[in-house]
């Protein structure tokens, strides 16, 4: 059964359980900076914006990599990094239109969500339901894109204000 991850900013309380859960399942420790999902937090307006790989159709990260270290599963859209090839240059991080990739604080390799290969660990931790792992329908796919647009608009506003 094909599933998709709905990421709703309006339900996000900014707690960072998702980032912590991610760092735990991937690296056996707790560090929000090592989460493949990240919360961009604006404390004064109490906003949390979730940022992560969207398995998007355009996937400019693949092309941006000068060494061809990134590959994409055509069925699931999941991006995989070949650690042997990756030079930690950061080109993929820069190229992502959804600000969904960042570099590992220690090793510099890109951190890209792989949906835990079909059972995202973060979802169980999101009690308010801002992250939902649901059966894919056309309607929900459209909904996912709408939620993403709202997050990207908020991201832009935040960055504009800070700059």
């Amino acid at each position: 059964m094909e599933k998709l991850l709905l990421v709703d900013m309006d339900k996000c309380t900014g707690c960072k359980q998702c980032s912590l859960a991610c760092s735990l399942t991937k690296e056996d420790l707790f560090d929000p900076a090592r989460g493949r999902i990240k919360i961009l937090k604006r404390e004064d307006i109490a906003l949390g914006v979730q940022l992560l790989c969207e398995q998007c159709e355009a996937h400019p990260c693949i092309k941006a990599c000068p060494d061809g270290a990134l590959s994409r599963d055509t069925k699931t859209g999941i991006i995989t990094v070949d650690m042997e090839i990756c030079t930690q240059c950061g080109s993929c991080v820069e190229s992502c239109p959804y600000h969904g990739i960042r570099s590992h604080p220690e090793t510099g390799v890109p951190l890209i969500c792989n949906l835990c290969k079909g059972d995202p660990y973060c979802v169980k931790h999101c009690v308010p339901g801002a992250l939902l792992w649901v059966k894919r329908t056309d309607e929900l796919f459209t909904q996912k894109k709408k939620l993403r647009s709202a997050r990207m608009a908020a991201y832009k506003d935040i960055k504009k204000e800070v700059a």
Partner: protein, 641 residues
């Protein structure tokens, strides 16, 4: 190190130097973390009773919990400990927000601030970089502007803790704000910072936190998370915030109004969390770090003359202290007062407490317009209330100075029996908005609270028996379900004793006390297991609870050095001498006789001396506090055995 980061950061802001001390292994076993270890540090540095709140030797300690920064649900809280300025006694205040987790990621379990700066300073921490920097540009600025500047200088992802103008002005009602809208509000810790000329602490950190057994830890954290997900109390807190309970409390005629002269308000709906939602004020449900409940609110006014007003809250306590208390039965009115307190850095509970006392004093003719900055005070007068709040924060005019010192000092200045309607006990902290006349464990807990009478050193909500989980807690303590009713005086000492320990370990680990004493997803048994998985330190449930008891006794001992006796463990005059105004509990009162009965049993359970309330040498030694006993002996403050 596992669980803890293993480091205590000391900063002397007078000498502008810092040093790091290893976290003693023994303390992790005896005091666990946060509030517990803070109590030990405060004892070690400030036990000498000559060290008053404003003495340069007073220290202020900030500490996230032993499991803060992990997926343990709602474990992101921070204890702040110092010699309190409102009571002159032991003060622990506790805040949510995201600052504490950041301190831990910077590599520190505790931050101890020593000394006094000559000019305003702030502390900047970025992992190993620790600086005491000039705060001239921040001094005088409100909380919102201070946060903005700190983020401009140190990054949008830095986290701040700060005082506003109220703290700078040494106002007792001042609050330490954290992550903008969260607060270590009670007891005047912000005035201690103000006295030290410490405006803010900005933190950013990159050190991960590791636990001893990640798989086991994740499993126990999941169990707690799922308990809370299923808990009706936690669900209500998420949906409608702390003020979800206002209507229910009002139905019990236990929602204090007009300075505790009423308990029931006809149309209370505007003061509820439900109204924040239905009237469109609620913009977002907000979580502290790692919290799966998210009871905090972010509310805005979008229309009308007050459009643009936005802030965190209001909480239950604020709807009480600045709404029902002064008679402002109006959502927008409370939003305005709340926003002003958050911005100027005031604790809404104390701000409301002193404002209500001022209103009643004026209506009784004890204060006149000469004392009130010309204000014609009265119940339900919003513009006047806002002027009182402003005067309080800025110590404006005669009124600002009078209220700025808190009711303990103000009632002495004014005389005329004005202590009779100052709702505080002998320790001198303005009471939180809980009706103790009809809840007997609460009344005992409020009386013995080392920092003054409020619900934030222990909470005995379970005595109401409002859910099967609450009843189960009471049954566990007393052996019978039948004691799950707040009007009994029997077994209240047992209930308070158990909750003191549970509350303490909850805070030592960094959990929000809602998880264990308002909702029931976290408990001593699963906390002991979690602590072992986090640190490798195996404590049984009983041993874990014993660390709580050790800390409560140490906190008590600290107050004994400052002259605390049994007489300090009392209740406000009004609640001891005037009956509840209406409802099924009409006429209900706290009385000295009733309290004495509960106190005797409480001291007995603690193995403290009944006459003086002081801990005995044998008790202290049994708890591993021989050095404390020796010091109290030197002060001649050990009871006869």
């Amino acid at each position: 190190m596992y669980g803890h980061q293993g480091k205590i950061l000391h900063v002397d802001i007078g000498k502008r130097k810092s040093w790091v001390e290893e976290l003693p292994e023994e303390w992790r076993k005896l005091y666990v973390g946060s509030r517990g270890i803070n109590a030990r540090i405060l004892w070690d540095y400030c036990k000498d009773p000559e060290i008053t709140w404003d003495d340069p030797r007073n220290i202020i300690i900030f500490a996230p919990g032993a499991v803060t920064g992990t997926t343990a649900p709602a474990s992101g809280r921070t204890s702040v400990t110092t010699v309190g300025c409102t009571t002159g006694l032991y003060l622990k205040s506790n805040t949510g927000g995201h600052w504490g987790a950041e301190l831990k990621y910077a590599g520190y379990d505790h931050l101890v601030v020593h000394g006094v700066a000559e000019e305003p300073v702030y502390i900047h921490i970025q992992d190993d970089l620790v600086e005491v920097l000039d705060a001239k540009k921040l001094w005088g600025k409100d909380i919102i502007k201070t946060d903005k500047l700190l983020k401009k200088w140190h990054g949008d992802d830095s986290r701040g803790l700060y005082i506003g103008p109220a703290g700078e002005n040494l106002v007792r009602a001042a609050s330490i704000q954290c992550s903008v809208y969260h607060a270590a509000g009670r007891g005047g810790g912000a005035a201690v910072m103000g006295k030290k000329k410490l405006k803010a602490i900005s933190v950013k950190g990159t050190h991960p936190i590791q636990v001893k057994d990640p798989a086991k830890f994740a499993k126990i954290a999941e169990e707690m998370r799922e308990n809370l997900r299923a808990d009706s109390g936690a669900q209500g807190l998420h949906q409608f915030g702390t003020s979800a309970s206002v209507a229910g409390v009002n139905e019990l005629h236990a929602f204090p109004g007009k300075n505790w002269q009423t308990g029931y308000t006809e149309n209370v709906y505007p003061l509820t969390g439900q109204a924040l939602v239905s009237e469109g004020y609620l913009k977002r449900r907000v979580a502290c770090f790692g919290c799966t409940i998210a009871c905090h609110r972010y509310s805005t006014i979008d229309k009308g003359p007050n459009a643009g007003i936005a802030s965190g809250g209001p909480e239950y306590e604020t709807f009480g202290a600045l709404g029902n208390g002064p008679g402002i039965i109006n959502t927008e009115g409370v939003l305005l007062a709340n926003e002003m307190c958050n911005r100027l850095g005031l604790d809404t509970i104390t701000a409301g407490g002193v404002a209500q006392w001022a209103i009643e004093s004026y209506l009784r003719g004890v204060l006149t317009k000469k004392d009130t900055n010309g204000l014609d005070l009265g119940w339900g007068k919003l513009p006047e209330l806002l002027k009182v709040i402003e005067a309080l924060a800025l110590r404006k005019g005669k009124l600002g100075d009078l209220l700025g010192d808190g009711l303990k000092i103000a009632t002495k200045k004014i005389g005329h029996d004005s202590y009779k309607w100052a709702v505080m006990n002998a320790k001198g902290l303005e009471q939180s908005n809980v009706e103790t006349r009809s809840a007997k464990a609460y009344s005992l807990a409020f009386a013995v609270n080392p920092r003054g009478n409020d619900h934030l050193m222990t909470e005995t909500f379970a005595e109401f028996g409002t859910s099967p989980e609450a009843v189960a807690v009471i049954e566990k303590i007393t052996g019978s379900k039948k004691w799950a009713s707040p009007h009994f005086t029997e077994y209240r000492a047992e209930i308070v004793r158990w909750h003191e320990d549970c509350y303490e370990i909850t805070e030592a680990l960094g959990f929000c006390v809602f998880t264990s004493t308002a909702a029931f997803g976290v408990n001593p048994e699963n906390m002991a297991r979690l602590y072992a998985a986090a640190t490798g330190i195996e404590l049984t449930e009983e041993e874990m609870m014993r660390t709580g008891r050790r800390v409560c006794t140490l906190e008590k001992a600290f107050n004994v050095t400052r002259g605390a006796t049994r007489a300090h463990d009392n209740l406000p005059w009004r609640l001891m001498n005037e009956g509840a105004a209406s409802g099924p509990l009409k006429g209900a009162m706290n009385s000295q006789k009733e309290l004495d009965g509960m106190l005797d049993r409480y001291y007995e359970l603690h193995e403290w001396d009944k006459e003086t309330s002081w801990p005995k040498r044998s008790t202290l030694e049994k708890l591993g506090l021989k050095d404390v006993a020796d010091y109290l002996g030197k002060l001649k403050k050990l009871p006869k055995e």
